[in-house]
């Protein structure tokens, strides 16, 4: 394209904070509450700078009372606000899940569509940095299993901002999950893919539309979030050996873009699903079932998957690295799939 555009690079966390800020400027009903989201800016930076911009009435540091303030988000939404509530780590959902899956997510249905609950719950997911079994999970499969919540899992700064704006404007509960590894935080292992071009003006990325992050002809790698980065790294290595992997970033788990999955696999005829969540009863199984239903006759090989074996996430580095999908493991799985082994 010959059009001159000003390139502006942001980390994912700054892109998210910018999306929230622009919606708060546009709509006085939007506010944020959560633990350490004020002066600290959110443990993973998703609300950095917002307190200075909007003050403590709209950027509310809460007590450690997830049931209380996430439940309050539901009430505030029922009375005309559009709250964003941050659950610091998704692993903490156990202390407040009743308010989320049993109340927030069901009211619209129970009311026969007469009541709307526009809440965004932001939460950090993901491991790989030695934080142990209670601070490293992704759990989007757990949430996605329960009806009534949209589940957004961005991988790039561009998508993160556009999906945040879509999430805030959505009239449904949206669980917005950011993997710590995609945020571009200075205190995490550097990840060049966590920084990218982000337009200054507000824009939306539709919830429920997957995105081909790299086109390819030999296999489709379906994944989300940080594993998109791993898959892109793997795809570069595979390309050097003549294997062209298509990387399909789902971007949201609910709604799941089944059409995009089926369309891609019908072209490439091979499927590898890569997931940082637990293996059984989760995203990998759902994607494979989708392909079995919609592209079975097109498959040249049985679908393959990489996911966390069904164990709690171990602390020590060699064990944690053993259970997490990695570039190397994706490369190996892709080679085997293409070789028909």
């Amino acid at each position: 394209m010959a059009v001159e555009t000003k390139r502006r690079l942001l980390t994912t966390s700054k892109a998210i904070a910018e999306g929230i800020a622009q919606e708060m400027e546009r709509d006085p009903a939007v506010f944020v509450m959560g633990e350490d989201i004020g002066a600290y800016g959110g443990i993973f930076g998703a609300t950095e700078g917002l307190l200075a911009k909007f003050g403590p009435e709209r950027i509310i540091d809460t007590p450690i009372s997830e049931t209380g303030f996430i439940g309050a988000a539901t009430g505030a939404a029922l009375s005309g606000m559009r709250p964003i509530a941050e659950l610091m780590f998704v692993d903490f959902f156990g202390v407040c899940m009743d308010q989320i899956y049993n109340h927030m997510a069901k009211i619209h249905y129970e009311s026969g569509g007469n009541v709307r609950v526009p809440v965004v719950v932001t939460t950090a997911i993901g491991g790989g940095y030695g934080d142990g079994a209670q601070h490293s999970q992704t759990l989007y499969g757990t949430f996605a299993h329960l009806p009534g919540m949209k589940i957004v899992v961005p991988s790039t700064p561009y998508d993160a901002k556009g999906l945040m704006i879509s999430a805030i404007r959505d009239d449904n509960p949206v669980i917005y999950m950011f993997d710590k590894g995609v945020m571009g935080l200075g205190w995490m292992t550097p990840n060049p893919r966590a920084t990218g071009e982000v337009p200054e003006e507000p824009y939306t990325v539709p919830i429920g539309k997957a995105d081909i992050k790299r086109p390819g002809r030999d296999l489709t790698v379906v994944t989300v979030s940080l594993m998109v980065h791993r898959a892109l790294d793997a795809a570069e290595e595979l390309a050097a050996e003549g294997i062209e992997a298509e990387v399909l970033d789902l971007r949201s788990i609910v709604p799941l873009d089944r059409e995009a999955i089926v369309e891609s696999v019908r072209r490439t005829r091979r499927l590898l699903v890569v997931d940082e969540d637990y293996r059984s009863f989760g995203m990998t199984g759902e994607v494979i079932a989708t392909v079995v239903e919609g592209a079975f006759d097109y498959l040249d090989a049985p679908p393959a998957r990489l996911a966390l074996p069904d164990v709690p996430i171990p602390y020590t580095r060699p064990l944690e690295q053993y259970v997490l999908p990695s570039r190397e493991r994706i490369v190996t799985a892709a080679r085997e799939l293409v070789a028909g082994r």
Partner: protein
Amino acid sequence: MLSEQVQLEMHHQMVRIRRFEETLQQVYMEGKSPAFDIAAGPVPGEMHLAAGQEPVAAGVCLHLRVSDAVTATHRPHHIALAHGMDMQRMMAEIFGKDTGLGHGKGGHMHLFDPATHFGCSGIVAEGMPTAVGHALAFKKQGRDEVAVSFFGEGAANQGAFHESLNLAALWNLGVVFVCEDNAWAISVPKEKATAIANNSDRAAAYGIPGVLIPDNDPVAVYEAAGEAVARARAGRGPTLIEVKTDRLLGHFEGDAQIYRTKDEMETLTQRDALKLYERRLIAAGTLTEDGAGQVWVAAQAEVDAAIEYARQSPYPEPEAALLHVFA
């Protein structure tokens, strides 16, 4: 001294509720005998009736506008009616009909009514944080609406109770927390579940007023609620009100109540707050025997009309089960 109008309106609301609950009790048993089958009849599922707890609903809700938010429990009918919910659409929802508040998707524990800003849920203490959020929204919007959260004494042992009281106190929100202490959490008596005698004492832990109404008296509830609602409207923060009330029926219909003695049931019947209140009004000359009779007849007619409406209404199409997951 309350105005005659208020006294009579409380009586009227209590009678409406009593007739609603007792008539529904009979309808609920249709198709469920000789062998009780919870899934059978025009009204399936659990049915939690609030006969005996009318003073709480009448005494509090008379202070409310329909724009005030109310959250209630698995035993919600008395509060919904006193707050002004349309009885026909409410009954149709209980019958699972398409004309119901939620097109039959909610049922009696999940009544949501935008017209009266009412919601309830089947999980103990679940509505308490919701009420905090309503009040937070009102404060942000600069409105003087209040939020009222009704809950049972069993709910006061849930974390949600404590988190909600702390948040409402911390943020100085216009919430009135109303504890309906009917002494029983299903089959477990209060003294076996709660370390202190009066939950209103727990208000002290959050630095807010705690008011104890010891005797299921609608006038006492009305007066305490008036103060609490005025305080909330004026932006002076939350109040916890505890009413010692009576559950005249089982936890749900079909509950044989093997955990309660005949003596206790007899005592409860003797001190039925509605009957006592009615006698008081008649003794004071506020109400005549005839006048009282007319209130009961009119209430029965209203309930019968609601039941007829519900019976005549169509069920939703089965495929409607797939609608309304998302807006």
